[in-house]
């Protein structure tokens, strides 16, 4: 029988070996995947024993800090958000009851110190409280507050970028929510109401809201027109008040006053649809798509927030990004002045204005200036990064001067600030509901070597971008450049 017993002993030992292998699989091989699962309650609770890094805005004001609490002999660090809804969509939240969002989600590894920093590993081994790294943001909280105040209860979004670096100075959305309510009073967030549908207070409209751009897209068309060498700012057009596309008339915003003879400069200044319609027909839709891509359209705009909270801009068909294969797939006339199935994010439009102001070079937007470990040592510091060149410097400068005209004595005069040269473009997109528009203003302004680009979108407005969005951009610029700009 000893033969059989030896074989049985092998089987018995093999069974235990299988268990060792399976344990190794779950604890070494699959541990990362398990930790990443959003329903992993243990991971979520365990991370509250970590003293999470703070998230800090301009002037050292904390946006997210810890509340220490001892329960049953264990110390937990729960999150508190002292600024409430001020930058909720960027900061996000970290709670037990729900999956994380915003930077709290995407930079969780840094915030919990699990990015293999030696101090955290030692803390873990010695049983000391693990302390995470802190995030220092580029957001200017004063301007952020001014932006929310200027929206004055209307639904919309405002993005301001530093032109030379790509720093996000303002990323403000209404409606917003108080992240302190997520854990215990989520019902209150579900009840938030605002004058728009869907209300969606949790959505970061600046990066995930897709809006029809209206005439702000003419900046892309103008840049394409000049960059292609086919047009000059002085190129002459005749505006009959409408444009024929596929045998149908497309009217200017104001049909009662055809411009007659008009050059490209004035066409952008007064936002003459028929001129851009004809440029579009001449260039073809594919060429315009090509230029839009150079400005960052058709790719998810880079930012440190989670990828699923950012959407690419471009032509959409049935909820999917749609890249035309043939010129005839898209109506080039309507496309050229921002109609067709074009949808854009406020961040993309701010990048567009910033690129024009930056002589045609697209800067990578970023909101995390630096990450510091618990001792205050810098873990990473973001360096300004060029994404590429969209148009030639001469083209950018020519478009910039045309946009300057739009604020001086065109559609965007409401954004004028004495002592500060503001250049901009208005947009008024129909929503499909008669009398209600999505209104836009994109602009840039600079003084003493510092330049800022701003994009403003307001939902469900009864008048134009020049009347509703431009004044908001003005408020934000004043907050960013200080009170001396008023004098």
């Amino acid at each position: 029988m000893n033969d059989q017993i030896r074989k049985l002993a092998l089987v018995g030992t093999a069974l235990i070996v299988v268990l060792v292998v399976a344990t190794t699989y779950w604890q070494a091989w699959a541990a990362g995947d398990l930790a990443d699962r959003q329903d992993n309650q243990i991971q979520r609770v365990a991370q509250f024993t970590v003293k999470r890094g703070e998230i800090i805005g301009s002037a050292g004001r904390p946006l997210a800090k810890n509340k220490r609490q001892k329960i049953g002999g264990r110390t937990f660090f729960f999150r508190g958000y002292p600024q409430g809804g001020l930058a909720a969509h960027v900061v996000g939240y970290s709670t037990q009851s729900r999956a994380r969002a915003g930077l709290e989600r995407s930079l969780n590894d840094y915030l919990t110190g699990s990015n293999a920093n030696l101090g955290a590993v030692l803390d873990k081994l010695t049983g000391a409280t693990v302390t995470g790294s802190s995030l220092h943001l580029t957001l200017n909280l004063k301007a952020q507050r001014a932006a929310l105040d200027a929206l004055d209860g209307r639904c919309g979004s405002i993005v301001a970028l530093d032109v030379r670096t790509g720093k996000v100075l303002v990323m403000a959305n209404l409606p917003t929510y108080n992240p302190n309510l997520i854990e215990e009073s989520f019902g209150k967030i579900a009840q938030i109401d605002a004058p728009c549908r869907p209300v969606a207070p949790l959505i970061n409209r600046a990066t995930n809201g897709l809006y029809a751009p209206g005439s702000t897209f003419k900046v892309v068309t103008a840049a394409a027109a000049l960059d292609s060498g086919k047009y000059e700012p002085d190129s002459e057009f005749v505006d009959p008040g409408y444009c024929e596309v596929y045998g149908r008339r497309v009217n200017n915003y104001d049909t009662t006053r055809p411009f007659g003879k008009v050059d490209l400069r004035d066409a952008l200044k007064y936002s003459v649809n028929s001129v851009f319609c004809n440029i579009g027909k001449e260039l073809g839709s594919k060429r315009i798509v090509e230029y839009a891509k150079r400005f960052g359209f058709y790719s998810t705009p880079p930012l440190e927030t989670p990828a699923n909270e950012r959407a690419p801009s471009g032509l959409y068909e049935q909820g999917e990004l749609f890249d035309p294969e043939l010129d005839s797939d898209v109506d080039p006339g309507r496309f050229a002045f921002g109609q067709e199935r074009l949808l854009v994010t406020p961040l993309q439009m701010a990048m567009l204005a910033g690129t024009i102001a930056n002589d045609g070079v697209v800067m990578r937007p970023y909101v995390v200036e630096e990450i510091r470990d618990p001792d205050g040592e810098i873990v990473t510091r973001t360096k300004p990064d060029e994404l590429g060149r969209a148009v030639e410097p001469e083209t950018a400068r020519a478009v910039a001067s045309m946009m300057r005209g739009a604020v001086e004595d065109g559609t965007g005069t409401a954004a004028k600030i004495s002592g500060l040269a503001v250049s901009g473009k208005t947009g008024t997109a129909e929503t499909g509901v008669r009398g209600l528009n999505t209104t836009w203003f994109i602009c840039f302004a600079g003084r003493e070597g510092r330049e800022v680009a701003v994009a403003v979108v307001v939902e469900q407005q009864r008048s134009t971008g020049g009347q509703t969005a431009a004044p908001i951009a003005r408020e934000v610029l004043q907050a960013l450049f200080g009170p001396t700009a008023n004098s």
């Binding site: 069974l15 399976a22 344990t23 604890q27």
Partner: protein
């Protein structure tokens, strides 16, 4: 017991200590009760050693009594009035304040019966004459009945696995094992068709996570399976994963929400391995498994050194039962096989389990004492 195997008792003591420590960390009140059960288990252990110190082989004469006793114990939970259904499986008996799982002791009685019966019949069985298989087919039938009655795949697999292993040791015919396995699978497939509880266990095993909501049998509503049927398994896997390589450290593991509600149910019985794996990590969990492996190796060595067929079969059966039980519960927790609730020998919280394991240990020590004594005196 001067000649008894010098490793088995310390290994068992080590496992018991790990068990009581872990239970104390999870549920201090249970740890006190567990210690009491350890005392009772050691008392059984001592009595067995004293009573059978001269020759334990006397029990062979009562083998049919043991077989019958085993069947009665297995049938107890099915009796109305005293049977208890806990967590979908009918494994418990409750008489007054006393609550126990008779399956644990039935396992040992079954091994004693099989050792006696197979030693008698091994030659004729090896010839493969059908009529000699009568009692064995009866055992198979009983195992299936138990499976059906208790709704518990785990204990049926354990009893039947021990049975097949001992038949193999006695006859040396691998074809018997293959035929037995085929029969078991056939029976299990039939039970799977009929019993919802078994179907659920298998579905949970194959697909613990779903992307889309599925029908939740417990609430009758649509839910993700990880929030419904498989939440125990999934949370236990999260616990194991959270341990990583080095573990969180004793007392540092996460088993409750911040408000103190338990995250994993049955943590100190069925899921004690996932608690240990979280706090001690891969290093500690592998070390624990090595202790089990050493115990199995020593137990099989006892079987090889034993001189007579009964002793060999007894030691091999007890040791293999120990290994298989460890595999069924830890393998279930690790999603190697469908999860069924049985105890981790010496470590899990549970009175019947502790007592049964100490009796098992006594059996192995008795066999080893006799075998080593004869080798030494010869």
């Amino acid at each position: 017991m001067p000649y008894a195997d010098p490793y088995l008792l310390p290994l068992a003591a080590l496992l018991t200590a790990i068990g009581v420590t872990t239970i104390y960390r999870l549920e201090p009140d249970d740890a006190f009760r567990q210690s009491l059960w350890v005392v009772i288990g050691v008392a059984f252990f001592a009595v067995a050693l004293v009573v059978y110190r001269h020759d334990y082989r006397r029990v062979e004469r009562y083998k049919y009594l043991f077989g019958l006793g085993s069947l009665v114990l297995l049938a107890l939970p099915a009796l109305p009035g005293i049977g208890q259904t806990i967590n979908g499986a009918r494994l418990w008996v409750k008489v007054g304040p006393l609550q126990f799982q008779p399956g644990e002791l039935a396992k040992i009685l079954l091994i004693v019966f099989l050792a006696g019966y197979l030693r008698d019949k091994r030659e004729v069985l090896a010839q493969g004459r059908l009529k000699d298989f009568g009692p064995l087919l009866l055992i198979w039938g009983a195992a299936m009945l138990v499976l059906f009655q208790t709704n518990d795949l785990g204990s049926a697999l354990l009893q039947f696995g021990i049975f097949l292993a001992m038949v193999y040791v006695a006859t040396g015919r691998a074809s018997f094992v293959a035929a037995g396995l085929a029969l078991f699978l056939l029976g299990a497939a039939a039970v799977y068709q009929v019993v919802d509880h078994v179907q659920q266990r298998v579905t949970i095993w194959l697909q613990p996570w779903t992307e889309e909501p599925v029908l939740c049998a417990q609430t009758g509503e649509q839910a993700l399976r990880q929030d419904c049927g498989s939440f125990q398994l999934v949370k236990s896997l999260y616990s194991i994963g959270n341990g990583g390589f080095g573990g969180t450290g004793l007392g540092q593991g996460t088993f409750t929400t911040t408000t103190g509600d338990p995250i994993i149910p049955y943590l100190n019985t069925d899921f004690i391995y996932s608690a240990i794996a979280q706090e001690l990590g891969l290093v500690g969990a592998a070390a624990l498994l090595l202790v089990y492996m050493l115990f199995v190796a020593r137990g099989m060595r006892v079987a090889i050194r034993a001189d007579d067929g009964f002793s060999k079969l007894l030691a091999a059966g007890l040791t293999f039962g120990f290994a298989l039980q460890t595999f069924i519960i830890v393998g279930g927790v690790l999603r190697v096989i469908p999860l069924t609730g049985i105890t981790l020998p010496f470590v899990s919280y549970g009175g019947s389990s502790v007592v049964a394991n100490f009796v098992l240990l006594a059996g192995l020590l008795l066999v080893s004492n006799r075998a080593n004594a004869q080798h030494t005196l010869r």
